[in-house]
Symmetry: none
Subunit: 224 residues, 4 copies
């Protein structure tokens, strides 16, 4: 979804330039479909612009230019600039969570799941390099969305940890501490990403020894 800007635009253009096309499947789009396409294009454009220039430089003019629509059109889809920015992380964040879930679904143990999730996070970032700024600048520019996202991710961690704790696999036994551990893992991932996972756009593969360090701490610090 993050990199669909071009496709979306291309799609629209094609339609316009050749109204008599006999394309069997893509006949004229309905109104609703067109609207949905534009909305999607605006999201994709916003993602790209925020990813490249940050929230603070994500001007409406830039987003609409990127989406190949007029500036005024923006306000047919969003109440305000902030409205779109508030929706950006939820939209893209869901995709990330789904991606990670999918990638870690076949784990044999909680520890393995953690490693797979960890790797998947960086895999996702490699595919969607815009996500880093969309996620981490949201604390400043879309705080509500950020907090929700954070809580959702934390809940995921806590659920897993809880299961492990109930099986007696954890070094901690205080239920309250589970969320603290979750936050620590999230923070650790954030900083490793910041430091080792972002060499320019297009990303870079995370060094294997970073994964080693992370898993060493996870295995020894959290699990027995």
């Amino acid at each position: 979804m993050l990199n669909d800007a071009k496709k979306a635009r291309a799609g629209r253009t094609r339609e316009v330039e050749d109204p008599s096309a006999q394309a069997p499947k893509r006949t004229k789009l309905t109104r609703a479909q067109k609207k949905e396409q534009i909305r999607a294009a605006l999201f994709a454009a916003a993602a790209k612009v925020v990813g490249e220039h940050g929230y603070s430089n994500a001007q409406v003019a830039m987003i609409t230019a990127q989406a190949s629509v007029a500036q005024g059109t923006f306000y047919n889809y969003f109440e305000s600039q902030q409205d779109l920015l508030d929706q950006l992380l939820p939209t893209v964040g869901q995709a990330m969570l789904a991606f990670i879930k999918e990638a870690s679904s076949d784990a044999a143990s909680e520890v393995e799941r953690e490693e797979k999730s960890f790797r998947a996070f960086f895999e996702f970032l490699k595919i969607n390099p815009d996500f880093y700024r969309i996620l981490y600048e949201a604390e400043v520019f879309a705080p509500e969305a950020y907090q929700k996202h954070n809580e959702a991710v934390a809940r995921g961690y806590v659920r897993v940890l809880e299961r492990a704790m109930n099986r007696g696999e954890l070094r901690i036994s205080d239920k309250r501490e589970l969320e603290a551990v979750a936050q620590m893992l999230m923070g650790a991932r954030h900083y490793l990403c910041m430091r080792f996972g972002r060499r320019g756009r297009g990303g870079i593969s995370l060094p294997e020894w970073v994964v080693d360090a992370y898993m060493t701490v996870v295995k020894g610090g959290i699990y027995r």
Copy 2:
């Protein structure tokens, strides 16, 4: 252009003087003292404004109003708004590092030092609630300063960890991994602070069980 003028003036400035060597009581401050006072007031005002409203709303007008000086005065002390913002974290960051160093200097072991440092960080935040935003929004608004600060903090961690590793106290043995561990600790602290350390201005005492969770992971995950 402006710079030429400034340089010329700076060159002429005789900053030495102090002919009134022993005037200890003097109600009136010397010019240099006044200047220093205003500079400090601007920094303090900026810290407060950034802490309360964030970098993105730290307008020059707000800062100067807070410091009770005219807007133009600002530019006698800083090249530009960004110039001040760039200096803010270094200035306050130093104070934090000094505070933590002082608080953890009497630790008997590396692990104890880590706990004392961890607690001191939150102590510092309680005293300087503005610091949270000054530090963490800097990634967006003063990236260079942020990176420097981050590296300085990381270096501190690495130094400690290295010592421990050389004594065979660590679970990892790859020197490269030390920095990864440092980043993880920093990230963990950041997120714990975000989640548990900031209930409104004035801060809140960190729950003891958060410290427990943190130290459990540190002890089991990093140290043998």
Copy 3:
């Protein structure tokens, strides 16, 4: 006077740095002399600054920096910035007129005097490259002074032309036309200077054929 900035500054510095100097002649200057020195330094500085950056960029700060005095000092000598700018052309303009008069005083005929004056103007500009802007930008930035200067120069021309006319040496006979001719000569000189007389600072020698063209027109167009 135009190039005394350095000297003036050196003078002050020397005095300051070695109050016990036994220099036999330059003992302490009187108050009045000091004032006169500063005023001269400000004029010289203004000339240099205007010559290099134009009136519109001749900020008080630049002028005082160039003169090595404090900004506030400026207002002990001039009512306002405009006040100095208004006095600049009269001051330097007098020097130019004197220079030209001196250079053309030994002419055997009016035509020869004109050639000598013409050459002397460019000679003066070579020595004082700042003069071009001081003079010609004054039309915009010190219009009153400009007009006065212009009239003074025109009067000089008219006086000469009148003499020639009375001797029947001119092609025109209407007294009113004398001033028109004077203005034409001034305009011609201005434009030749603009086009041929100013290659960078330091000036350039006027090509001889430009003088030829000028004198051809003067000889054939004005004199019989």
Copy 4:
């Protein structure tokens, strides 16, 4: 403020569009036409403001007020204030050249052409009294445009003079001197205009004896 602007604009628009016209096609202007109108209004406003107050006082606010548009609108048409100022002389200068060409096209000889051109210049100034400052202050405020304009005008003179020289009608025979002569004519015209052609706004008719003086010099000084 918004209201004022709107009303003002509405007023202008209505007036311009001529509701009583039988406009066969369309009462309302197309968008492109409106844009062109605003651009023209901005140029006209700039010309008036510069003519009255000079480049140095031609603030964006003044220009837009004069054009009855909002300040922000300015930047839909020009990159910056300087951008407009740079375009002003080329725009108006072309009009002047066309005017003069038209007025002197039916001349029987080069000398006559020169007289007609000379008169036409002042005619143009009478119609466009703003042109004087637009042209002559450009040396300071839009130097590039000024130089281009100057060169264009000089080329025109040189072309005419060259023709005459080839026919042996000139007193000079050195091709290089042609441009010098052109500059002299331009300077002469400038100064005559400054001294005799601008009594307040609305201009004044140039005294006939000024034309006589000019033509006497041209005929005797340049042509045989």
